[in-house]
């Protein structure tokens, strides 16, 4: 897993205490709000997201930047792909 620090997100969504599949639904919903190249931050304590979010990024072509461990939850950073 790739760890990052001090990433500046354009949009943040807090889904701590929300279970599967909210992490994927919110991810899709929030990505639609982003412009190309912008960064999304998702805060979640759902362990399944550690596999699912990087997997979703692989599948969709968005860039998974990494996670930051905040103790009680994770912060995931995803950069929206630039469409040509």
């Amino acid at each position: 897993m790739k760890f990052v620090e001090n990433v500046k997100p354009d949009i943040t969504t807090d889904i701590v205490y929300m279970m599967c599949p909210m992490h994927l639904l919110k991810l899709e919903e929030k990505m639609r709000e982003l412009d190309d190249g912008q960064i999304l931050e998702i805060m979640t304590d759902y362990d399944g997201a550690l596999e699912d979010i990087p997997g979703w990024c692989d599948k969709t072509g968005n860039e998974f930047l990494g996670i930051e461990d905040s103790g009680d939850y994770y912060k995931f950073y995803i950069r929206k792909k630039v469409r040509r």
Binding site: D14, I15, V16, Y17, M18, M19, M22, L25, D72
Partner: protein, 399 residues
């Protein structure tokens, strides 16, 4: 025989306009809101419309409303959901002795899980003192929950002041507004609570629908896990007709609030005046700062259950704050918390009025009630009363 329903804190009749709004969703429009085809999207749309109507009742954002199955579920969700979400910051919560069992028993459950709970005392009117709230706060306190208005004695608590204190100390504040919402104006922005519980059947909506207002950005641990309903915070296929009914009832309550308040307040004042002619009867709760349709009393030398039975035989339906003595031999904890002696608390009687009560209903009650009391006192085994003096010799109930 006349039939007079004076138990609107137990539940309200369903408004026919609410039933009309619900009917399509009980019949043809049966879709699951999660389904992506038309019947599903229609149901989803109906729920979101209801969310807007309920939000409008308390001036919140629609996204801050989570539908539940009842006021009790909303209370359980608030207390357990916030206590658990913030347990790393502290494990102390504060509630009052005036709370409904859905708060008190949730607090006791949390106590068993290792949380410390302070149960705040109240004064002779059942009022929580904001200064006492302030003094009860510790470094560990993460949540305060105080009832907005008591269903048992009608007293309206100083919610805005308590919410200010909570905000100052960065403590989450919940209020159980089940008896208040839809019956008195609530503006969540002025009230300042972070969470607020409501129940549809308290304002002419259906049973089986409640809601919890959760301030935007607040984390809460779900009570029910499962699907993605209510944005992942409350699973379970939505009770679409009931939610639609709650929305319509909220819309009507908002539109008709002032007229309803004026109507029940006038009737209540006549009731209190008329019933007070009985000897040794005492109004419980705050004399002025109380729900507009609420009249509660303690009657000396008599048990509440006996009054209810005899009144019911005359077509008058009321409530008693006391548990049936034959079942529990227990007086109402709320009345005891106010310092009312346990014997006197056994004689609790609660009349709560609604928009469909008439002046004739009140006149009938005023005519019949003294006869019921007279008959019961004739057969009462108690020669003398239980006394109305508190420990300091101060009168703790008002004539």
């Amino acid at each position: 025989m006349m039939k007079c329903y004076f138990d609107h804190v137990a539940t309200n009749p369903l408004d026919t306009r609410v039933l009309d709004a619900m009917m399509p969703y009980l019949k043809d429009d049966f879709g699951n809101p999660l389904s992506i085809y038309e019947p599903g999207s229609k149901a989803k749309e109906a729920i979101e419309n209801a969310r807007g109507q309920v939000a409008s009742l308390i001036n919140s954002k629609p996204s801050e409303i989570i539908f539940t199955s009842s006021g009790a579920e909303a209370n359980n969700f608030a207390l357990r959901g916030i206590a658990l979400a913030r347990q790393n910051e502290g494990k102390h919560i504060i509630v009052s002795r005036m709370e409904h069992h859905s708060i008190l028993n949730s607090a006791r459950f949390l106590e068993k899980m290792g949380f410390a709970v302070t149960f705040l005392p109240v004064d002779k009117h059942g009022m929580v003192d904001p200064d006492v709230v302030k003094k009860s706060i510790t470094k560990e306190t993460t949540l305060i929950s105080i009832i907005h208005a008591s269903s048992e004695i009608g007293t309206i608590e100083p919610i805005e002041e308590i919410s200010e204190i909570a905000k100052e100390k960065k403590i989450i504040f919940h209020t159980d507004a089940v008896a208040a919402a839809g019956n008195i104006p609530i503006n969540i922005k002025e009230l300042g609570a972070d969470l607020l519980s409501m129940a549809a059947h308290q304002f002419y909506g259906p049973k089986g629908a409640g809601a919890l207002y959760v301030r935007e950005g607040l984390r809460i641990v779900p009570l029910i896990y499962g699907g993605i309903q209510e944005n992942g915070r409350r699973a379970g296929t939505e009770n679409v007709p009931a939610i639609v009914g709650m929305g319509k009832a909220a819309e009507l309550a908002k539109e008709e609030m002032n007229a309803r308040i004026e109507h029940v307040r006038t009737l209540r004042d006549r009731l209190i005046k008329g019933v007070s002619s009985v000897e040794n009867i005492y109004l419980t709760g705050h004399p002025d700062n109380r729900l507009p349709g609420h009249a509660s009393f303690c009657v000396e030398f008599i048990e509440g259950e006996a009054m209810l039975l005899l009144l019911a035989a005359k077509g008058i339906y009321a409530a008693s704050g006391s548990a049936c003595s034959s079942k529990a031999l227990k007086a109402s904890p709320v009345l005891l918390a106010m310092g009312i002696p346990s014997g006197l608390a056994q004689g609790s009687i609660v009349f709560t009025l609604g928009k469909d009560n008439s002046g004739d209903d009140i006149e009938y009650l005023i005519a019949e009630f003294p006869q019921v009391i007279k008959r019961l006192r004739e057969i009462s085994p108690y020669a003398k009363g239980w006394g109305i003096k508190g420990e300091g010799g101060e009168c703790i109930v008002q004539k």
